[in-house]
C-alpha cells in the first residue's frame, strides 16, 4: 500500500536575484512500513521534498498525497499522520529529556497513561535514562539530538520524517537510534530519512532514492544501486601502483596513499597474485554504497555539464 505519493513535484525558490529550481517534476511512491532513504549532496533537494511533504512548505507545482490526503489542500488531515525531526533542530533549553518527550506527546493528544509508558520505554531504548532529568542546556550536542529523535519516535506516528536524525551522534548512539527506527517500521510506521552517512542508509533502508539538482537519479534498493556499477568488489592495495597496470580490471583511484580498484569478483585472484608478487598487502571487500553513490552523482553532474 502506497502511503506517500508525489506526482510532478516542483519547487522554485524566487527569493534571490535568480530563481532556484530545488525540485523538478519529482515522482515518488513510498509504501507502508518501509524505511525510505533520501540521499543527495547538500542542496540537492532532499530537505525541500521533506518540507513539502511535511506541510512546512508549499510546492510550486505538483502534489503530494500522504495517506491519500493532499498535503496542500488537506494539511490538517495529513498532519494527524506525521511527526518530524527537522534538520538541525534544537531543544527547548530549559526542559529535560523526559519533559521534552512527555510534553510533546501530551500536546499531540496522547493519554497520560500511554505517555508515561512510551516515555519510559524510549528513554531506555535511546540510552537517555542517565540524563533524563538534566536540562537540555547541560546536555552535549549528541544527547540533545538523541532527545529530539526520541521525542519524535515516541509519537509512533504512522509517517515519520527524519531529516538527518543522527547528525552529531557518536557511533554507539547512532546504532541505538537505528534500532529504535527499525522498531518503528516493524510496528508499521513508514520512515522517510535523509542522511549523509551512507553506511546508515545502507544499514537501515529498504529502499532509497538519490536526488541531484532536483531530479531523482535513482530509485531502488541499495544492493541494486551497487550492482548498477557492474563491479561488486573493492580491492585496496596498501601502497601505490601505476593506474595503467590496473585499468583493465575496473575503476582505479588513489585514497590516502593507497590504490583502490573497484572490480568484479572474477578479477580478485589475479589482483591477489599481483599483490603477492609485489609484496603489497591487499584488502578485499564488497563495494560500499558510498562508491555507487559517488559514481552515480558524479555521472549526473557530468551529464548536466
Amino acid at each position: 500500500m502506497v502511503v506517500l505519493e508525489a506526482r510532478g513535484l516542483s519547487k522554485t525558490y524566487r527569493k534571490g536575484p535568480t530563481p532556484v529550481r530545488a525540485l523538478d517534476r519529482v515522482d515518488l511512491d513510498i509504501e507502508r512500513g518501509r524505511l525510505f532513504a533520501f540521499l543527495g549532496r547538500n542542496g540537492a533537494g532532499k530537505t525541500t521534498f521533506i518540507k513539502i511533504a511535511a506541510t512546512l512548505l508549499l510546492p510550486t507545482e505538483g502534489e503530494v498525497l500522504l495517506f491519500d490526503r493532499d498535503v496542500v489542500r488537506e494539511p490538517s488531515a495529513a498532519r494527524r499522520q506525521m511527526a518530524l525531526v527537522p534538520q538541525e533542530g534544537k531543544l527547548f533549553y530549559h526542559l529535560t529529556p523526559r519533559e521534552h518527550i512527555r510534553e510533546y506527546l501530551r500536546v499531540r493528544g496522547v493519554s497520560a497513561e500511554t505517555t508515561k509508558s512510551r516515555t519510559d520505554a524510549i528513554l531506555e531504548e535511546m540510552g537517555l535514562l542517565p540524563y533524563q532529568n538534566m536540562i537540555a542546556l547541560r546536555l552535549s550536542g549528541g544527547l540533545q539530538q538523541r532527545t529530539l529523535v526520541a521525542m519524535i519516535l515516541a509519537t509512533e506516528a504512522p509517517f515519520l520524517f527524519l531529516d538527518e536524525p543522527t547528525l552529531g551522534m557518536d557511533p554507539f548512539a547512532r546504532r541505538q537510534v537505528w534500532e529504535v527506527i527499525r522498531k518503528a517500521t516493524s510496528r508499521g510506521s513508514t520512515v522517510l530519512l535523509t542522511t549523509h552517512y551512507l553506511d546508515e542508509a545502507e544499514q537501515l533502508s529498504d529502499e532509497l532514492a538519490v536526488i541531484e539538482g532536483g531530479h531523482i537519479l535513482y530509485h531502488g534498493t541499495s544492493e541494486a544501486l551497487k550492482s548498477t556499477m557492474g563491479r561488486e568488489v573493492r580491492v585496496q592495495f596498501a601502497g601505490t601502483l601505476r593506474p595503467e597496470e590496473l585499468a583493465s580490471f575496473g575503476k582505479v583511484f588513489a585514497e590516502r596513499g593507497r590504490t583502490v580498484v573497484l572490480t568484479t569478483r572474477a578479477s580478485v585472484p589475479e589482483l591477489t597474485e599481483l599483490a603477492l608478487a609485489r609484496g603489497i598487502e591487499i584488502t578485499v571487500g564488497p563495494v560500499a554504497l558510498e562508491e555507487a553513490f559517488l559514481e552515480l552523482v558524479g555521472r549526473g553532474i557530468e551529464e548536466e555539464e
Binding site: K15, K51, A54, T55, L56, L57, L58, P75, S76, R79, R80, M82, A83, L84, V85, P86, Q87, E88, G89, K90, L91, F92, H94, L95, E99, E103, Y104, R106, V107, R108, G109, I135, M151, I152, T155, F161
Partner: protein, 254 residues
Amino acid sequence: MSVGSQAYAAVRICYFNGIIPLWRSPLLIAAVFLTPFSFLFFLFVIAPHALFPYGVVGGLLFTALFTGSGMLNDCAYLRLERQLQQVFVASPVSPLGYILGMALSELAFSIPAMALFLGILFLVHPVSALAGIGLVGLLLLTWLMATSLGFFISTLFAQLREIWPIGTLVFSVLAVLPPIFYPATEIPAAWRWVAFLAPSTFAAQLADRLVGLGGAITTGIPFVDTPYFDLAGLLGFALLFGAAALFFARWRER
C-alpha cells in the same frame, strides 16, 4: 484534534514554555518588571505626583503590550533558530493551539509584574472591585491583541537579525509613544488624532476611564467621547491582528 484537545495543547505549551522556565529562572520575572518600573520611577521623580496613577496604569498596559514583543521574539527564535515550530506544524496541533499556547506562556511571564502594578494601583488609587475586574478584562484583551501581532510579525522574516529591530520598533511605538504613561490630553490638540492610530491609545483611555482617572481626548462627537468608542477601537485592532495571526501568518512557508 477537537477544540477541547487544541485548548489542552495550548495549556500544555504554556506549562512547558512559560511555567517551567519561570520556575527554573525566577529572574525572568524581574526582567519583565524592570522596564515599566523604570518608566514609573522616572515619572515619580520628574512629574507631578498627581500623574503617578497614570504611570501605574501605564506600567500595567506596558506589561500587557510587551507580551507581544516577547511573543515575536520567542516565536521567531523557536522557528528560525531551534526549528521547533516546525515540529508543531508537522503534528496534529493546529495553528490556533500553538499560537494560544505561546501567548499563554507570555502571559505567564507577565502575570507577576501585572500583579505588582495592580497592587501599587490599589495602594495609590483605590478602585472598586468592578473596575478591577474590568481592568483585568482590558489587560487580557490587550494581551490577545499584542501577542497576535507579535506572532504575525514573527512569521514574516527569514532571519532573526531582521526581526529584532522590527520587534523593538513596533512595540516601542505601541507601548512608549502613545498616551500610556501620561493623559492623552497632554498631546498637543493638533496631533491628538495621530494617537488613535495606535491601539494602545484606546486601551489607555479605557483603562484610565475604568479606574476613574480623567484625561481622555474629547472631540465633541458623541460616540467618540465615550468608553464604547475606546472599547470598539481596541476590539477592532484585536480582531484585525487576531485575523492576521490566524489567516495571514506564514504557518507554512511559500
